[in-house]
């Protein structure tokens, strides 16, 4: 069954439907492109914000009073360290700036005005003092009632990560990048930088910009933002995408499966009908039911039905050929016979008489042969018009065997018939004829000193009549064709010349007329041959 499914249409269609899976893959690819694009935009955006903040703070010497102390001040060093740690700290962890935090109210107000949601901006002056800090990298708490997104995504994460490549973000809490960014800003180089966080999915983008007073650099602005908003966007897009494509794929699979099943069912039905239409002997038994479908399978149905019809016609033609042939041959035989009769009435003497008798004998034989040719057809016609009547098969068999004992005094017959009547409905004469043929056949084959066994048995539903003889076995290849017209297991030239294997055709016709069947079997160990006819009881 499994192998049948694997080779079936359904399996193949489903297999080809796997192509549908390319759709979510392509869409996911598209989403990751979009994400990259969004990140680029965010980067630019952040850089612009940083520049705006920097230029707003520029040229305001009041905000950045010249620092006291030496540049090599150890306090500076300490502050540098603190700022570096702060810059690198996880946004979730509360980091204290401690002594490095020397806010200027004005700068902080500026930063508050310019700040963005979920971003952090701070200003460092040349002596590593944080002059202003605004915002936080922490996400604002999600709005109430939003469904927990984790479930579907957490299942699908392994699958999704196969399809969607997250942009590479360096991981770790290294402080160096931001510090060097600040350092570079303090010497006038603006930059943007990505860095990873403990959450693999989230990255922090930072942009640094120098602040000028005149031509001097007095500090640097650092604006930081997490990628959480992009991630959120990506996630909801992915979820939508996956939900939709899953639904589409499932629907497509279901439709395909239904379609394929229907197709397969119709083809299987056609297959079964075509198989049943012709039996093992090549005779046409069944028919194809036409569904009237207009598609290719409908065409196939019509073609097979047509082929069967033509085959049936041809079979009928072949079957009728025998009777037509016999009819056509009768006239020339009558010519010869009447000529011989005329010749005989001239009473020729001597040798002429001998040859005349031989010719007559030959014509006799020919005419018997011809009459047997149409025997099957004649019997069929007889059966068609015959009236079915109830009869006792046991009585028929008993009577027939009695008759054979009288007709063939030199031969022995064994007869086993149940004492109770075997009630059947049909044509008793035809059954007698059937038995005649079987016994004739058995007598021709059985050694003269061996008996012919006729056994009638019944199992309450069917009657089984068998005639067996101890003759030589029949070649196995012959067995199924034995009951066809013109097939004979006899050696050429044997018998009485009147056999063309039509006797067994009669057997088959009568058996089938009674709703039964006939078959021939070799007995094991070459002990003989048995012909069996089975038919339902009345």
């Amino acid at each position: 069954m499994r192998a049948a499914f694997v080779h079936g249409i359904r399996f193949r269609l489903l297999l080809s439907a796997l192509v549908l899976l390319a759709i979510p893959a392509l869409a996911a690819q598209f989403i990751s492109r979009m994400e990259a694009f969004l990140r680029g935009a965010q980067e630019q955006d952040l850089a612009v914000t940083a520049r705006a903040v920097a230029s707003a703070l520029s040229d305001r010497p009041a905000l950045f009073p010249p620092a006291g102390g030496e540049p090599g001040d150890p306090e500076d060093e300490e502050r540098r360290r603190i700022v570096g740690l702060f810059a690198a700290a996880d946004p979730v962890a509360a980091a204290s700036l401690g002594t490095a935090y020397m806010p200027s109210e004005e700068i902080e107000r500026f930063l508050d005005i310019m700040g963005r949601r979920a971003s952090r901006a701070w200003v460092v002056d040349t002596r590593s003092r944080v002059r202003g800090l605004s915002g936080s990298l922490r996400e604002p708490p999600p709005a109430k009632g939003e469904p927990p997104r984790a479930t579907i995504m957490s299942w699908l994460k392994p699958v999704v990560s196969l399809i969607v490549s997250s942009p590479e973000v360096p991981a770790g809490d290294e402080s160096k990048p931001v510090r060097s960014q600040v350092d570079r800003a303090l010497i006038g180089v603006a930059s943007t930088h990505w860095r990873g966080t403990r959450d693999r999915e989230v990255a922090i983008l930072s942009a640094a910009q120098p602040i000028f007073v005149g031509d001097d650099i007095v500090g640097a602005v650092v604006v930081e933002e997490t990628t959480a908003s992009i991630l959120l966007l990506r996630q909801s897009a992915l979820e939508n995408l996956i939900a939709v494509t899953l639904a589409v794929c499932l629907a497509a699979f279901a439709i395909l499966l239904f379609f394929a099943s229907r197709l397969a069912t119709r083809i299987r039905r056609l297959h079964a009908e075509a198989e049943a239409a012709i039996d093992a002997q090549g005779r046409i038994r069944g028919d194809i039911t036409l569904t009237g479908a207009k598609d290719e399978i409908g065409d196939l149905e019509r073609t097979i039905a047509g082929v069967l019809g033509r085959l049936r016609d041809y079979n009928a033609y072949l079957e009728q050929m025998a009777s037509r042939l016999s009819h056509e041959l009768r006239t020339p035989v009558a010519v010869v016979r009447s000529s011989l009769d005329n010749l005989r009435s001239q009473s020729p003497g001597g040798e002429a008489r001998v040859y005349l008798d031989r010719a007559g004998e030959g014509v006799e034989r020919l005419s018997r042969l011809i009459s047997r040719l149409s025997e099957g057809t004649r019997l069929e016609k007889m059966l068609e018009s015959a009236e079915r009547e109830p009869f006792d098969l046991a009585a028929v068999v008993r009577g027939c065997v009695e008759g054979y004992r009288g007709a063939y005094p030199g031969r022995a017959f064994e007869c086993v018939v149940p004492p109770a009547p075997v009630a059947m409905t049909g044509v008793p004469d035809a059954f007698a004829q059937l038995l005649d043929k079987l016994v004739e056949n058995a007598l021709d084959f059985a050694p003269a000193d061996k008996p012919v066994r006729v056994v009638l048995a019944t199992d309450g539903r069917r009657a089984r009549l068998s005639v067996s003889n101890e003759g030589p076995p029949i070649p196995p290849a012959m067995l199924p064709r034995l009951f066809d017209a013109m097939v004979s297991g006899r050696d050429e030239g044997a018998g009485r010349g009147g056999h063309l294997g039509l006797g067994l055709t009669v057997v088959r016709l009568v058996a089938e007329f009674h709703g039964g069947s006939a078959r021939a079997m070799n007995l094991p160990e070459g002990r003989g041959v048995v012909f069996e006819v089975e038919a339902p009881l009345a």
């Binding site: 035989v333 016979r337 004829q433």
Partner: protein, 231 residues
């Protein structure tokens, strides 16, 4: 004066052979190849007996039509069908049209001549008073061999010559089984077993038509038939 026989047969060789044989037997023969020809000639002067083939040239059932026309002209003219066809259907059709007998072309010329002689005898006997020695009486059955007539319970049963001979063969020795070969011999038929069966069937039907309770002909399977007399 010799009897005149009309022979209608489309095959020239067979026609000639049969004509020769009939002539040798002392009959005067008029041979025709087709129906119109035969009808033209026979309409003016009816023969004493007609032998007709069923298929006449292009007319597949020309013989049946001819038989119908002849029977319409004369109710008593003896008609024999002589055909290559041996199906029950053809035999029944022929006899229903009023033919007196039906022979297949398997029949030898002596058989044909015997059948013709029998028919003539029947026709002649019908004109003469009945002779007792030709009569056979078995209970309700009376057979007149000269006229070839059968009477069952006082009612005539219309048998063909073949059927008459079969009934006579059976009834002569009631209780004795007559196998098919014997019946065939007695009825001077050359046919196969199946035809004997259908002959017996037809005989039974004819008796049943006069007496619905008729069951005097008993089938002995494998052997043949016998005439039974109810006590």
């Amino acid at each position: 004066m010799p009897k005149r026989i009309a022979l209608v047969e489309d095959d020239a060789t067979i026609r000639q052979n049969y004509a020769d044989a009939l002539a040798r037997a002392g009959y005067e023969v008029q041979a025709f190849a087709d129906r119109p020809q035969a009808m033209r000639s026979l309409a003016t002067r009816l023969p004493d007996l007609a032998i007709i083939d069923i298929g006449l040239g292009a007319e597949i059932d020309g013989g049946f039509a001819l038989c119908r026309e002849l029977r319409a002209t004369s109710a008593t003219l003896p008609i024999i069908f002589l055909s290559a066809r041996d199906s029950d259907f053809d035999i029944v059709s022929g006899l229903r049209l009023g033919a007196d007998d039906y022979l297949t072309k398997d029949a030898s010329l002596p058989h044909l001549l015997a059948r013709i002689a029998a028919l003539f005898r029947r026709v002649e006997a019908a004109r003469e008073p009945a002779r007792d020695d030709e009569r056979l009486v078995r209970g309700p059955l009376e057979l007149d061999a000269a006229r070839m007539t059968a009477v069952w319970k006082g009612l005539p049963v219309d048998l063909t010559v073949t059927e008459f001979w079969m009934v006579r063969s059976l009834a002569r020795h009631p209780g004795h089984v007559k196998d098919r070969d014997t019946l065939m011999r007695d009825a001077e038929m050359v046919v196969d077993d199946g035809t004997i069966t259908s002959h017996v069937k037809r005989i039974r039907k004819k008796f049943l038509a006069v007496d619905a309770a008729f069951d005097a002909i008993e089938t002995v399977y494998g052997m043949g038939y016998r005439w039974t007399e109810k006590a």
